[in-house]
Amino acid sequence: MYISSIFLKNYRNYKKQDLQLSPGINIIQGANGQGKSNFLESVYNLCFGRPFRGFKEIDLVYRGTPYYYLQGTIYLQQRCYKVEVGYEIEKKRKIFKINGRKDRSNSLAGRCPVVFFVPEDLELIRRGPEERRRFLDREISQIAPLYGEYLSRYNRVIYQKNRALKEKKLSRESLKNLIKAWNAQIIHFGSRILQKRAYYISAWSELASRNFGLLFENEQQLKISYKSFLQKDLLTGDLSEIELLFSIEIAAKEEEEYIRGFSIVGPHRDDLAFLINGCDAKRFASHGQQRSAVIALKAAQIQYYHQQEEKPLFILDDIFSELDEKRREQCFELLAKAEQIFLSITKKEKYLDPIFKKFSCFSFFHVQNGSITEIKENGNDRLFY
């Protein structure tokens, strides 16, 4: 997958910007606060039709203007899509069009292989379980078309059931039946969520273990696994078996749920576990080990996409300045597995040379105060140097 051009109008600190992009690597260089992240996030927004990681639409609109609008040309599975995304503040109106047609069901969902890597991701292991679930849910909805739908329905059911559990005026019998009605859907959607999570974590885990081994000359091992309330190998066995076990589990905790007044059984309480040399990385690993484990996982995501028919798009927001030489090298190698790369840097550093040598097809952009200019090559000698 790659994006050949993008147009930004009133987006963050960009008033109006039209860019032709390289199908290879695109480097965006600029000092702090000039608009690098804003630009990279617009690429994400275009692919998924929604703001990057929980930002609000209204905050994306250039302050003092009434709307933002993005347009781009995406090449995916040998087809070309003209995508338009926008938001109008006053009418609270969201626009998402593909090839000129309104697209309500988001037909690109689950089809765009995009891996976004920002420095804060490196802290994934240190953070709380809800942060890791958010990571899982976000990444899986990108690959598995129905996952996002299941998830939003599941969350809605949990929200309703939590409220029902606090109901005081119903008889115990009615309440029991009412909770059962919500549980039916918790089991239905929850089992599908469990199955997908288990599948992707297992696929990534294998690749991540190898990557981690390479980083530490095989002297250290990483294992990533899904820590679920359901004590079962979720990879084997079919959906009806998972549903059955889920319903047994939920029945066993029924009383406890009434007492505590909220849903305690389900994938909304699960976690992603990182084990380094057999120990829980959150509790025992060094900061460097934890960050390396995340890199190994990010790398695995790229490799996983690479194994599929469609090569991914890789977006790195100022990540290299955060890494030491060894980890940088591993990331450099990954770049070759992507179809198109967006990379932001604050300034050119010596350690970036291998990247510039490796890619013949690249564009270099300079961003200053919400305005991007392409720096063109000049004969053999790139102006950039």
């Binding site: 069901s105 037909s107 078309p145 129905l146 739908e149 329905r153 809605r156 059911v157 929200y159 309703q160 059931k161 409220r163 029902a164 109901e167 005026k169 119903l170 009615s174 039946n177 009412l178 059962k180 009605a181 919500w182 039916a184 859907q185």
Partner: protein
């Protein structure tokens, strides 16, 4: 203030209607002011009269001006067949097909604890009583295919089955006249799940 108090008040009143934003409310207000006196009076009367006369059918909770609605009064209807819908307009959609020969029960909503809507608010006890009293043989549930509608269907099924009645749910299919290619994946999945023997 830009407009006189009466205009502002009318705009506010229109804005309470569903689907009407500030601009439309203002347009309606100006339009009403250009109408003839008699027309405006008739409009006001119609609102008051409708509100005064229309009530729920005591059997099915359809909107009616009598004790029983026309469907409940119609003796040719299949008395053993009952269709449960969320809203009066859902009933109208089914009626238009002319395919359903039974009677209805209208919930006027779906289970939604966060909005304080439980079984009692939907008159589900009354529905169960009706099933018992009128010797209903089959209950067809036609609530919306979303989280709340599904929970409601499940709840009613659970409460009705012990009464010895057959409970069915209308199938979820693909829109007629649409291309398979354009069906969203969730619709397709549900259509597959509710497939049937041919």
């Amino acid at each position: 203030m830009l407009f006189s108090p009466s205009i502002t008040r009318l705009v506010e009143v229109f804005r309470r209607l569903p689907g009407i934003g500030p601009k439309t409310a203002l347009r309606l207000t100006f339009f009403v002011l250009t109408m003839k006196n008699e027309e405006v009076q008739e409009m006001a009367r119609a609102l008051v009269e409708a509100k005064k006369r229309v009530r729920y059918c005591t059997r099915c909770r359809n909107l009616t001006e009598d004790e029983l609605c026309p469907v409940c009064r119609d003796e040719r209807r299949d008395k053993a067949l009952l269709c449960v819908v969320q809203e009066p307009r859902d009933m109208m959609v089914i009626e238009k097909t002319g395919q359903f020969k039974g009677r209805y029960f209208i919930l006027h909503g779906a289970l939604s604890p966060v909005e304080g809507i439980g079984p009692d608010e939907l008159m589900i006890p009354q529905l169960l009583q009706l099933i018992k009293d009128k010797k209903i043989e089959e209950v067809v549930i036609a609530t919306n295919p979303n989280v709340e509608g599904d929970a409601t269907a499940y709840y009613i099924a659970g409460a009705a089955k012990p009464l010895g009645v057959r409970v069915t749910r209308i199938g979820f299919g693909l829109p007629v006249g649409g291309d398979l290619e354009y069906a969203d994946e969730l619709t397709m999945t549900r259509a597959l799940e509710s497939r049937r023997e041919m």
